[in-house]
Every structure is written in C-alpha cells, then in structure tokens.
C-alpha cells in the first residue's frame, strides 16, 4: 500500500492515572491518507491514546508530533494545531444552545475569520453532503442520535482538518443508526481523509481501515492490515479478543 508522509508521530508515549498505566510506552506513526482503526478491550487505553493525539489527554511522558511540530512542547500553540485535527466524540457533544448551522459556523468564523456568508456556504455544502441540509435551522435536541453524530462529523470537517480522530463514534447509537454514521465515515475514507478511529465495529475496521492496531494493557500488542490481523491473528491476546467479539 502506498504510504504518504508521516502526519502524526507518537514517540514513547506514557500516561499514568495514579498507579494505572493507561499508556505504556507507545511509539507509532500515522501516515497521510491512512485510515487507522484502533481496537481492543475496554480499559486497553485506546481512547486515551486517541485523546493524547490532540492533547485532550496530557501525556505523562513522551512526545506527539503533528506535521513535524511537537504538540507536547509547552511553547507550541496547541489551539492552532487542534484546528487541523478534527475530533468526533462518542457522546456527539453538539452545542445544544445553537442551531445546527451555528454549530458548524462558530469555529470557522471565530478561528479562521471566515465571513458569515463564507462560513454558511461551507456549512451548507457539508450538510448537503451528509443529507441534513434541511435541518440547518433545527436545534440538536430535535435530531436523532445518528443525525447528531453526522452533524458532529461535519462540524469537525468545517475546519478543513488534515486528520480526523474518532472516539468510538457509533457506541452511543441505537443499532439502526450505526449504518448512516459509518456510511459518512466510509465516504470520508474514500475521499482520502486521514483518519484514526477507535471503534468496536469490527466490520467497519475490516472493510474501511488500511491498518488496524490492537491495543491491550496500554500497549499496541499487534498491528497489521485488516485482512491479516482478523484472519491470521498472531498473539494469544488478540485471538482471545477476536473470539469474543466476532
């Protein structure tokens, strides 16, 4: 598989919560254009790993480089770098006091100094792409879970990020709504967006990911292409895990 330039470089990342080693010395590189799925049992550190990539979780030790800039360096303007790293949460976290349109235009207008017309145009194009243009003036409370998550994805995309981080984006959804969200993510992957996806959707990981990381006990235990990883797991722990979830 053709690999682009390194986009995010993780070097010796450690995160301790008291005595718990949530991340235990992780070194990993995410390349441009990759779709990396991160799987593993709960408590394996996969969410902490993802949240460390944009410093929502401050690592105890180690470095994270985004496009060559060390985001763990206190001198780095983390807010500037986060604009390039879109994030989607399990609980959507839409802003309930704003319309859908305002949810999408707030950051581009305040942070990228777009005019209202430009921001609206960008937002409407994104809403059309996920089939929710007619809900532009609704409030988040009026939407279903699947719709909310699609909005959350395009809210992050409205900043035109270089990479998208997904933290279990379908885990809070009713089963019948998982498909519509995965469909949007599939489309993003097809368009060449670099993505890191923490997920329990093994089908999605197998079908869409270019690489799968299996985490357990705060470490990346095994990684491979989805075909190899799912069909020929090497470690005992991965075999056990797959036996339970597949």
């Amino acid at each position: 598989m053709a690999q682009g330039n390194p986009l995010i470089e993780v070097q010796g990342l450690k995160k301790y919560f008291g005595k718990v080693h949530a991340l235990d010395d992780i070194t990993e590189t995410i390349y441009e254009g990759e779709v990396v799925a991160v799987i593993g049992p709960s408590g394996s550190g996969k969410s902490t790993f993802l949240r460390s990539l944009n410093l929502l979780e401050v690592p105890t030790e180690g470095h994270v480089l985004m496009e060559g800039v060390d985001i763990t360096d206190p001198k780095t303007d983390i807010n500037k770098l986060r604009q390039k790293m879109g994030m989607v949460f399990q609980q959507f976290n839409l802003f309930p006091h704003m319309t859908i349109l305002k949810n999408l235009t707030l950051a581009p207008m305040k942070l990228q100094k777009l005019s209202e017309a430009e921001a609206n145009e960008r937002a409407m194009a994104l809403l059309t792409r996920v089939g929710l243009a007619d809900r532009a003036n609704a409030y988040p409370v009026q939407l279903s879970g699947g719709q909310k998550q699609r909005i959350a994805i395009v809210r992050a995309l409205a900043m035109k990020p270089d990479v998208m981080l997904f933290d279990e984006p379908t885990s809070a959804l009713d089963p019948e709504m998982v498909g519509e969200v995965l469909e949007v993510m599939r489309g993003l992957a097809r368009d060449g967006m670099t993505m890191v996806v923490v997920t329990h959707e093994m089908g999605f990981a197998r079908e869409v990911a270019s690489r799968v990381l299996f985490m357990d006990g705060g470490r990346i235990v095994e990684q491979n292409t989805p075909q190899e990883l799912f069909d020929h797991p090497k470690s005992e722990r991965l075999k056990n895990f797959l036996a339970k979830v597949l």
């Binding site: 944009n54 929502l56 807010n79 500037k80 986060r82 604009q83 790293m85 879109g86 994030m87 949460f89 609980q91 976290n93 839409l94 802003f95 309930p96 006091h97 704003m98 319309t99 707030l106 950051a107 305040k110 942070l111 409030y139 988040p140 409370v141 809210r155 992050a156 900043m159």
Partner: protein, 249 residues
C-alpha cells in the same frame, strides 16, 4: 319579633362599616396626603431601586469574576492564590450578616472619608451579592458537561473562548432561576439601609409611622410596594427564561 332583630342587625353592621370606612379614610389622609407624606415613600422607593439596581450590576460583574477564578482553578489547576482569596472572600461574606457588613463599610472603612451614603449602600450590597452570585455562576459552569468543553477545545478554541462561546451561555441559562432568586433577596435586603441613615422605602414607611403614630397604613403600604416589585421582577425573569429555552427542552 324576628323582623325587628334582622333590621337591628343590619343597622349595626352598616354603622360599623361606615365607621371603619371613615376611620380608614382618615388614616389614609393622615399617613399619605397630609403634609405630602406620600412623597417619603416615592423618594424611599427611588433610593431602594437605585441601591438594588447598581448593587445587582456590581454583584454580577464581581460575582462572575470570582466564579471564573474558582472554576478556572478547579479545571486547570492554575490561579491557585487568586482561588484561595476568592474562597476566603466568599466564606467571610456569606458567614456574616449583611447588616453588619453594611455598618462596617459605613462606620469603619469609610469612617474618615466622606462618601455618599447611597454609594456606601451600593458598595456594601454589591460586595455582599457578589459572593452569592459567584457560587450561583460556579454551580452553573460546573453543571455543563465536560464533553462540551472538550468539543470546544478540540475545534481549536482556547480556554477563554470555549468558556465564552460554549460554556457560559449554557451555564447562564441554567442558573437564571437561582440568579433571579438572588436578586429578589438583594432587593429585600436593602431594607436594612436605614441602619446607616439612608432613607430607603422601609425607612420612609417608618418615618411616616413615627410622625403619625399609626403603624398599619404605612407599613402595609411598604410591604405592598416590595411585593409588587418582586412579582414584576419574577414575571420578567420567566419571560427571559422562555426566550432562552431554545434548543434545550
């Protein structure tokens, strides 16, 4: 026999009603009309409104500042010294009666410099209200889900922008009833302004009572005026709440 009894009864009642009415009118005349005594109440009301309004504004500004210090310290671990000061301030203000604070500010802090008594009252009630408003705002900010904060930060907003655009508007809406409650309390607490010689609404009623030796009319009138102000204030806040209800039902 019976007919005569009923007739006497009605006569008695009628006479009593007439007497009461006449004495009420006389009372009303004595307390409000004679020597233009109603003007005390109007002036007193003016002072009460002036003190309550400006103290409320001062309380909101200072209270918001204290709340921001407290929550920033809790969320980020910065501003430790300021946080300690804010906590101390809130403890002292909430731990002592407002009348005592008013007296201290008037007779201790401003003992040697002349400051207009109205201004003294505004400062005292403003400083007092700020401590309560701070806790109201703080609880509002803390009630907003951490995910809202993370969503703001992940888009690239800094701490202050996230607070201003995302957390505060939601917090404000949540605390509006508690804030209204605080202002109702503040409005009524200004009734102790008489302790520093300020003629507010309560003092005005009391002055009339001391002139006329009739307690009923002036005190009931004062109570009614407070009641009307509180009812109007509550209605205004309800309207504001309805207008802000967009999105979160």
């Amino acid at each position: 026999m019976v007919a005569i009894d009923i007739g006497t009864f009605f006569d008695t009642v009628l006479a009593w009603l007439q007497n009461t009415w006449t004495s009420l009118c006389a009372d009303f005349y004595l307390n409000f009309i004679k020597e233009d005594r109603w003007k005390y109440l109007v002036r007193g009301l003016g002072v009460t409104l002036e003190v309550a309004l400006f103290a409320a504004i001062a309380g909101i500004i200072l209270g918001a500042l204290l709340a921001i210090i407290r929550t920033t310290a809790d969320k980020t671990g910065r501003l430790r010294f300021l946080n300690w000061l804010a906590k101390l301030y809130i403890t002292v203000i909430r731990g002592t009666p407002v009348v005592v604070q008013l007296l201290i500010i008037n007779f201790v802090i401003f003992s040697s410099v002349f400051v207009d008594t109205v201004l003294v009252a505004i400062i005292a009630f403003g400083l007092n209200s700020a401590a309560y408003v701070a806790e109201v705002f703080r609880s509002g900010i803390m009630s907003i889900d951490e995910g809202q904060f993370e969503a703001g930060r992940s888009l690239g907003f800094n701490y202050g922008q996230t607070m201003w655009h995302i957390v505060m508007p939601q917090a404000f809406k949540n605390v509006l009833p508690a804030l209204a409650n605080e202002f109702i309390t503040l409005l009524k607490e200004t009734s102790v302004s008489g302790y520093i010689g300020l003629m507010d609404l309560t003092k005005a009623g009391d002055i009339i009572r001391s002139r006329t030796f009739a307690a009923f009319m002036p005190l009931i009138a004062v109570a009614l005026v407070y009641l009307i102000m509180v009812v109007v204030l509550s209605a205004g806040v309800s309207r504001l709440e309805r207008r802000l209800r967009n999105g979160t039902r």
